[in-house]
């Protein structure tokens, strides 16, 4: 007889929350999306976004919203690095039959490798490495733009802006990348300085695709920056390997542009992810149910 229990996987990020409803047999029934669900916004805000996303996923599955009370939830949440936050989330009066919560990196890693050991290196606006080895989570990096996030989109863009300003002053050679970046910054230090005074990591990260594009076209400055990002990603990959990870999936918005610049000695680690974060969240819910049976 088919197992009729329902699962929902939830990926609660800082800008949006996604939910996927599936059966125990793995059949996906529907998906939904809600607002931000970072726990630092307050748990009522975060769960407001989470429940909205689940309701949309239930409706798109043709299921009654009342079914929430029968559904088993697996949840990956941004901002969950502090134990205090984790305990508060676990104690929250949720509407589900059961709820299991881990970090967003945890469910991404679970999605990428399923039930086998493995690691992910997230290369987006920021960067972070996470390995799941025998059910234990290990992380490297991910401490923010100011003093961490090596090989991230924001850091690639930051290096490009700094170097392009040097190029504008004739300190290093002018080229395609510096021309494109300085044009966007008003072609003058007087305009670039106030831009930088308020620039967020996201604003720097928006330049990362230009750096990658110009590197592929042979621009020496762009090549130097991408090669450095590749070396930095290599350091994080070797650190994950040293912790015991034998395979690492690269995920995030700039993963694909950094991959061609990785050092040769880490390439044997790289694998394609088997599934996405929501697959990982669904697996988290399923494993919790199996563990409780």
């Amino acid at each position: 007889m088919q197992d009729q229990r329902l699962l929902v996987g939830i990926d609660g990020g800082g800008t949006k929350c996604r939910a996927r409803v599936a059966t125990m047999d793995g059949e996906v029934l529907g998906e939904g999306q809600g607002g931000p669900a970072n726990t630092r916004l307050g748990l009522d805000v975060a769960f407001g976004s989470i429940i909205a996303a689940v309701d949309i996923a239930l409706a798109s599955s043709g299921l009654d919203l009342d079914r929430k009370k029968e559904i088993h939830a697996g949840l990956g949440l941004a901002g969950l690095s502090l134990k205090r936050e984790r305990d508060m989330v676990a104690a929250y009066d949720h509407p589900f039959a059961s709820m299991t919560v881990e970090s967003d990196a945890y469910i991404a890693c679970l999605g990428a490798h399923g039930r086998t050991d493995g690691a992910i290196l997230i290369l987006g606006t920021g960067s972070c490495g996470t390995a799941l080895l025998g059910g234990v989570e290990h992380t490297v990096g991910g401490w923010g733009f100011e003093i961490s996030d090596h090989a991230s989109g924001a850091h690639i863009g930051y290096q490009a802006v700094r170097a392009s300003l040097l190029a504008l002053e004739g300190v290093i050679p002018w080229g395609g990348l510096s021309s494109e970046i300085m044009e966007q910054l008003g072609n003058s230090p007087e305009k670039a300085v106030p831009w930088a005074e308020t620039a967020t990591p996201g604003k720097y990260g928006k330049f990362a695709p230009s750096v990658s594009k110009w590197a592929m076209e042979g621009d020496p400055l762009a090549i130097r920056i991408m090669r450095e990002a590749g070396e930095d990603a290599g350091l994080l990959l070797r650190a994950l390997e040293a912790k015991g990870a034998e395979c690492v999936a690269l995920i995030g918005g700039v993963a694909s542009v950094i991959e061609p610049w990785l050092p040769a000695d880490v390439m044997h680690l790289i694998v394609s992810p088997a599934g996405d974060s929501l697959d990982g969240a669904l697996l988290l819910a399923r494993m919790h149910l199996e563990g409780g049976e």
Copy 2:
């Protein structure tokens, strides 16, 4: 007959203002110091600091404060990059017989090379290159910590903090420099992240002497950072040479620690400064008087 006219040289910086009184023959009579004189604080604040410093210099010279109205002032001011500020300063109702104003970098360069062409590379918390060639000022860099100030104390400290956090996580080898820096940052990313969220360039710059010390002791991470700072300083030196400067004086708090790491091909440019900023400010006043005779 001896020329009895009096000169005062003034170096108005962002944290303090210094004044030196001398005769036309170059005899130094006394010095004084006042509060900040950055024009961005408002001209009344800046001139309050300037006049206080001059009054102390006059008193230490055994001269009546009333002599201000006979004295010819040469002034180097921080924050004078905008023409608007420059015009406002020139129009200010000062108490001197005459006043000539340039940037703080200008008087530093004049102090370093006197009446001959030359350049300076300021390597302090920030960095900036200035050349005076045929009386015309040329600058490179100096656009602030966020996107400029290569080879500065702040940037050296920034690189050291970022790398030390990687070392703490085992991503790169642990060593003397990372040990010293992470001890000051609480030996944990959780403590280093809030530190970085409010760290000023000055706070990063405070780590520069540690980087230099550990590099001299053979710490590989410190050597890598100092070598990179030396390469960056080399780029700025070559840019000053390309503008026509045949000799460059290194000045500022970290100049001496960067000098051993400069690339060999720029060493022929390096000279010792003939005098300091106040010597330059006095020369500025003297040249103005001579030009008016």
